[in-house]
């Protein structure tokens, strides 16, 4: 009822006023009558009554204030007044609005990034209880590795700490039946995978117990993406068949989108592990577990390690030295390093927001000073300080809320750009970034915060107004010592901008260094693609490479089990055979690949000694091996490694003969120095899937149709997949570094714009205040350039001080920055100097514009102006 009445009173202002006047008139009438009864004359009675009643207008005013509608009215009046003020000074209002939009928009965009990747909970209930389990091997320097399938099944039986354990293996499988055969990534999942991780299925049903046995009827569950893309999201997909690996599978369900987990595959099939033929030392399953209620992660880890120890005793050959490690699910999906980077970004963009606030405060303060007279007159007429403060705050809040709304629009645009760029796939859960309720709430909060903070300055100033001094503004003392707060704010802006500029400069330089690093191979003009020919792979590749080598524009062709900068790695222990100086039991962890044909030549890896593999190196020729320079150096020092023997994967079995040494290459990341590597002969052994590498003088992608034709000429049903140029691979590997550098560069640019606006605005204001002084100087014979010089010099002082403070602030960030840099120290003289110079230039230019305006002043006009 109260609300209703209050709401209605908003619209009945005039009626209510009339009623109030009526009521008070009656009161006076009744008093008059009372007075007359005591014997006064009509005139006296009336006079006494009115006197007793008091100042009607004031009472009415006070009475009105009691009405709720009064507050709404006041608000309405404040808003109208605010808009009118803005229209009087459209230029500076626009600048403030633009500043707000940029500041709030950037913050919202980054926050939505943090929200989407880190803060938003995964669609898994009770996710704190879910962990990822990896195997470790201290002796081999393995920190967190995929699990062996047989170990996984044994854990399921023996461990007591878990409510559920599930795992997934991702393998490639051929899908036939449509226009051309395709190679897809398929998730082979154990029982209970969806119950543990995937959440309720969108359609259909989970796998049933027994469907993972070798003889059971084959079933498949589609991923949401696959279902939408191939079946148009129609529910009648259930029941249809897909032919995988040549065998028909019935579709029984559709799974919801994965929260960035191992489910990179497009289809789900039960993991039918043939326990007899599986090898225990093949580690290929990713395992997740839900802890039992009351069991902590540490307890579970201890218990599972005990089980692992048991298994090591039962199967010493495969399990010796293998332990386990449990990682909380959130960390498994978004590595703590990524989380740290994102929060740092948030910190950086908050600096930007602070900069925005300082900028706006200074602009508002400058405007406030010019409104001194207006405000003092208000105060003199009875306006309470709180009323004036309310009006100033309302104005600020309105501006910042408007800025917030527009800023959200900017953020939306930025997020759309994010999804369109390659960054969305570079970060885990990057495709889940969007503007949701949480982000909107965040925008609202910071808009209000900014509005309140920037409102402080003029309100604080208004409170300190000395009535008389303000009204006697006629004399303007020409000292620059006033407006300390204003200058302080500008200094703060310069300092903040410097921090961002310096950080950006350093990151950009580091990124540049990364792009120029010697990779050890030549990515230009190289196309890579994968093939899984199955039986007769050796013959297939011999034929294929011969045919592809004949294509016009092809310079060389090779085959390998992988290419540099791929996301998976394979490694093995090696040790020199019969080396007296080599400590017994010590092994060197080395990366390995299988290579054949002109693999090294195609990738531009030089041969340092010896020779490459030839078809003659197939069995029954003795086992031969090619090693890289680092391996050679670590194994045999300066001695010639050719002709020596190497034990691979333990000291049993025949060692391999070293027949060649090739140059080092960076195989994991451009920023990581090369590790020891060995290469097996692809004429001897092949993997199920291999990578074809082709070097061409033409655009690599243009060769694809011809290569496909050659492949299908040999095997019509064989799909090509994972097609990529090496240049793309290099660019992708630099994705995270590029993201950081780009974003920080954007912030720095923004900060620079804001600083320029701030300096221009404040200088303009200060110069306008000193018009009189400038006029005097000009009249006394000063040159225009001298006046200009004076103003610029004063600005330089503030700029210089700001940079010094900025340097100190920058020192606080060096600790984190150092972790993100490649071969560069945070205190990089070149970057810091560049940042300082840019800031100075921009600051001076920003000050020059209003300064030039001032120098054009006609001395007579200036002297006469008030």
């Amino acid at each position: 009822m109260k609300l209703l009445r209050r709401f209605r009173s908003l619209f009945r202002k005039e009626t209510l006023d009339a009623e109030m006047a009526e009521e008070m008139r009656l009161h006076v009438e009744l008093q008059v009558e009372l007075n007359r009864k005591t014997g006064m004359s009509p005139g006296e009675a009336r006079y006494a009554a009115l006197r007793q009643f008091g100042n009607v207008a004031v009472i009415q005013e006070q009475a009105r204030a009691q009405r709720f509608s009064a507050s709404a009215e006041m608000l309405g009046r404040d808003l109208v007044f605010a808009v009118r003020q803005w229209r009087k000074k459209p230029g500076s209002t626009l600048i403030m609005l633009v500043t707000l939009v940029l500041g709030i928009g950037a913050n919202t965009a980054i926050y939505s990034l943090v929200q989407g990747v880190v803060l938003r909970p995964l669609p898994i209930k009770d996710q704190a209880q879910v962990v990822q389990i990896g195997e470790t091997n201290r002796a081999r320097n393995v920190d967190f590795f995929s699990v062996s399938v047989l170990n996984f099944f044994d854990w399921r039986e023996r461990s007591r700490s878990f409510e559920a354990l599930a795992g997934v293996v991702i393998r490639g499988a051929t899908l036939t039946g449509s226009s051309h055969p395709e190679q897809l990534a398929v998730n082979y999942v154990s029982q209970g995978y969806f119950a543990l991780l995937g959440g309720p299925l969108l359609h259909g049903r989970d796998f049933r117990a027994g469907e993972d046995r070798p003889g059971a009827s084959r079933v498949v569950i589609l991923s949401e993406g696959f279902w939408r893309g191939r079946f148009g999201a129609k529910p009648d997909a259930i029941g249809q068949t897909l032919t995988l690996q040549g065998k028909p599978h019935t579709i029984v369900g559709v799974a919801p989108r994965d929260p960035g987990l191992a489910g990179r595959g497009e289809l789900f099939v039960p993991l039918g592990a043939d326990l007899k033929s599986e090898e225990r030392d093949n580690h290929e399953i990713d395992v997740y577990g839900r802890l039992r209620a009351g069991v902590t992660r540490e307890q579970a880890e201890t218990e599972l390690n005990a089980v692992a120890l048991q298994l090591a005793r039962e199967h010493p050959v495969s399990n010796e030295g293998w332990g386990v490690r449990l990682v909380p699910l959130a960390d498994a999906i978004v590595a703590p390093a990524v989380r740290l980077a994102l929060f740092t970004l948030l910190g950086a963009v908050s600096l930007l927001l602070l900069n925005t606030c300082a900028n706006l405060s200074s602009l508002q303060l400058a405007r406030a000073v010019s409104r001194d007279r207006e405000l003092t007159i208000r105060a003199a007429l009875g306006g309470s300080k709180s009323r004036i403060a309310r009006q100033l705050l309302t104005e600020n809040l309105l501006l910042s809320l408007l800025g917030g709304v527009a800023g959200m629009g900017l953020a939306r645009w930025l997020v759309a750009g994010w999804h369109a760029s390659s960054f969305a796939t570079a970060l885990p859960r990057g495709d889940e970034v969007g503007i949701d309720g949480g982000v909107m709430a965040f925008t609202l909060v910071i808009s209000v915060l900014v509005g309140t903070l920037t409102g402080f300055a003029p309100v604080w100033r208004a409170n300190r107004l000395d009535l008389r001094a303000a009204l006697n503004q006629g004399s303007r003392a020409a000292t620059g010592g006033r407006h300390r707060v204003l200058r302080g704010l500008v200094l703060a802006q310069i300092a903040l901008s410097f921090v961002l500029l310096a950080a950006a400069a350093v990151l950009l330089r580091s990124f540049q260094k990364l792009t120029q690093v010697d990779l050890g191979f030549a990515p230009q003009g190289v196309l890579t693609l994968k093939l899984a020919p199955g039986e007769g792979g050796k013959r297939f590749f011999t034929q294929l490479t011969a045919r592809v080598g004949e294509l016009p524009g092809v310079q060389s062709v090779g085959v390998g089990s992988g290419v540099p900068l791929e996301s998976f790695n394979t490694s093995i222990d090696i040790q020199p055979a019969g080396a007296a100086e080599w400590p017994a039991g010590k092994a060197l962890q080395s990366e390995w690949r299988i290579v054949r044909e002109d693999y090294f030549e195609t990738l531009g890896v030089p041969l340092r000694r010896g020779r490459h593999f030839t078809p003659a190196d197939a069995a029954p020729a003795p086992k031969s091996i090619v090693i890289n320079e680092t391996a050679a150096r670590l194994l045999w020092g300066e001695q010639d490694p050719l002709g020596r023997f190497l034990h691979i994967g333990g000291t049993e079995g025949t060692p391999s003969l070293v027949i060649g040494v090739v140059g080092d290459l960076r195989s994991r990341h451009p920023g990581r120095p090369p590790a020891p590597a060995i290469y097996f002969s692809g004429y001897r052994d092949l993997w199920g899937n291999m990578t074809l590498v082709v070097k061409t003088s033409l655009a690599p992608a243009s060769l694809l149709p011809q290569i496909r034709r050659e492949v299908q000429a040999i095997n019509p049903q064989l799909p090509l997949y994972s097609v990529k140029t090496m240049e793309e691979a290099v660019a992708e590997s630099l994705g995270e570094a590029r993201l950081l550098a780009t974003l920080l560069g954007a912030f720095a640019a923004l900060a620079l714009v804001l600083a320029a606006l701030g300096v221009a605005g404040v200088t303009g204001f200060l110069v306008a205040e000193r018009t009189r002084e400038i006029g005097i100087r000009l009249a006394l014979g000063a040159q225009k350039t001298q006046v200009l010089g004076l103003i610029v010099l004063e600005n330089l002082r503030v700029l210089g001080a700001g940079i010094v403070v900025g340097l100190l602030a920058f020192a606080l960030t060096t600790h984190y920055l150092a972790t993100q840099l490649y071969e560069l120290a945070p205190w990089d003289g070149l970057s810091l100097t560049a940042a300082a110079v840019v800031l100075l230039l921009v600051g001076v230019t920003a000050a020059l514009l209003p300064a030039r305006q001032a120098a054009k002043v006609d001395p007579m006009v200036a002297l006469r102006a008030e």
Binding site: M1, K2, R5, R6, E19, M20, E22, E23, M24, L26, H27, E29, L30, Q31, E33, L34, Q52, F53, G54, N55, V58, I59, Q62, A63, A65, Q66, R67, F68
Partner: protein, 110 residues
């Protein structure tokens, strides 16, 4: 504006207004007269406080107003207690009793 009449605090004014409306509806002038009567002329309500107080009480929902005809055949706004207003009156009477007892206790100490 006589000096030896006590100044009234806002809260106590509310209480007095509510009390004076306990038995019958009245217009503003009548309420002022009534309070003066009930206090045997020891309290005078300033119009400057009366009307703002009346509007505030109306806004709170403790009294409601209706237009009617006054004794001298003029249109007047009559105020009366609402149900919540009656409850509020009872509550405030209790609080006042407690407060004055406490103060008397303190003052009674030597």
């Amino acid at each position: 504006m006589t000096q030896n009449k006590a100044d009234l605090l806002q809260g106590t004014l509310d209480l007095l207004i509510l009390k004076s409306l306990q038995n019958e509806p009245m217009h503003g002038f009548g309420i002022a007269v009534r309070i003066g009567q009930m206090s045997r002329d020891m309290l005078t309500v300033e119009q400057g406080s009366l009307y703002p107080a009346l509007y505030r009480l109306e806004d709170q929902g403790w009294i409601k107003a209706e237009w009617g005809v006054s004794e001298n055949n003029r249109k007047a706004k009559f105020y009366s207690l609402t149900a919540t207003g009656r409850k509020q009156l009872a509550t405030e009477e209790q609080s006042w009793a407690r407060l004055s007892t406490a103060i008397n206790l303190v003052l009674g100490q030597t």
